[in-house]
């Protein structure tokens, strides 16, 4: 494990050092949507929460995923004008009419 340097010397050391191999990275990454959607079973959720609390970068990653979802949920969409709505309706009915 590469030595981690930190500027947050006042913070307590994590109880367990993180030794993520690629498999572990993927295992954590895999659960994050279920975590932010509150769909993880209690024990898994607790385990992940404990990990995130000890790991600022992971916490930021989750926060950024949460922000991404919130942005998607609130992204405004353009509306049709009344004239376009009427024009499209007429075109649909014209196309639907048997020839």
């Amino acid at each position: 494990m590469a030595k981690r340097t930190t500027t947050r010397s006042v913070q307590p050391k994590p109880a367990r050092p993180h030794r993520h191999g690629k498999g572990r990275c993927v295992a954590i990454l895999k659960k994050l949507s279920a975590y932010i959607d509150d769909e993880l079973p209690g024990t898994l959720c607790e385990e992940l929460r404990k990990h995130l609390g000890a790991c600022p970068n992971c916490e930021e990653f989750v926060a950024s995923l949460r922000q991404t979802v919130a942005l998607c949920q609130h992204q405004p969409a353009p509306a049709l004008s009344q004239a376009e709505r009427a024009r499209m309706r007429n075109e649909i009915l014209r196309a639907a009419r048997p020839r």
Binding site: K22, C25, Q73, A77, L80, M88, I92, A96
Partner: protein, 213 residues
């Protein structure tokens, strides 16, 4: 004795056709804005979105009598639009969908952990006042491979449940959630890479990066 039918019977269309047309008008009035919003999110461009909306309602008109009412009307329309969208895409012969693997979303540099965009301390609505951010989000969603975009749009933008999304795209809930997760990670990475605001100082090395690529 039967009463004779009224002399004046201007019936250019049959009763069932008239009923269909009347039902269609209600259907169209109630759902056209919703379908245009959905189509815009899928297609990106307004003209392509209008084509998709027309195709959707045309197919809905033709299939209205077969609608059994065992799904919500809006779910039925979403499914028609999703199929129409796939057909239109096949006609255009766009690039085939690529699969997104979780490995590609493991952060590889220190700046990858947070969004490099102005969202901190703002509600999503406030953050989205920023036109540049709205455009960056649109670009990120447009870059998603289509099948991932479909799930993200239905679930996170249109607000459908995973079960409803599954019934529309023909996947079980587990597969929907897996696809949605990859789509979110993709959009997150794109937003992180676009750097709308000045970058904030990042953290030092992180275990998620170790053992990554």
């Amino acid at each position: 004795m039967k009463t004779p039918a009224p002399a004046k019977q201007p019936a250019p269309v049959s009763h069932s056709e008239a009923r269909t047309a009347a039902s269609f008008d209600t259907l169209y009035r109630n759902h056209v804005d919703q379908m245009y919003r959905f189509a815009t999110r899928l297609c990106g461009e307004p003209e392509a979105a209008k084509d998709l909306v027309q195709e959707t309602f045309l197919n809905a008109y033709r299939g209205y009598q077969t609608f059994r009412g065992d799904a919500q009307v809006s779910t039925w329309l979403y499914a028609i639009a999703a199929r129409a969208c796939s057909r239109m895409r096949r006609k255009r012969k766009g690039a085939p969908d690529r699969e997104l693997s979780l490995e590609e979303f493991i952060p590889t540099s220190e700046g990858d952990f947070r969004l490099q965009i102005p969202v901190d301390g703002l509600s999503p609505e406030e953050a989205l006042q920023n036109k540049e951010l709205r455009q960056a989000l649109d670009r990120a969603i447009a870059k998603l491979p289509k099948k991932y975009r479909m799930v993200l749009v239905l679930r996170d933008m249109e607000g459908l449940s995973a079960k409803e999304v599954g019934s529309i795209v023909g996947l079980n809930e587990r597969a929907v959630k897996s696809r949605l997760h990859r789509a979110r990670l993709f959009v997150r990475r794109e937003l992180s890479a676009q750097g709308i605001a000045t970058s904030e100082p990042s953290h030092n090395g992180h275990p998620l990066m170790q053992g990554g690529r």
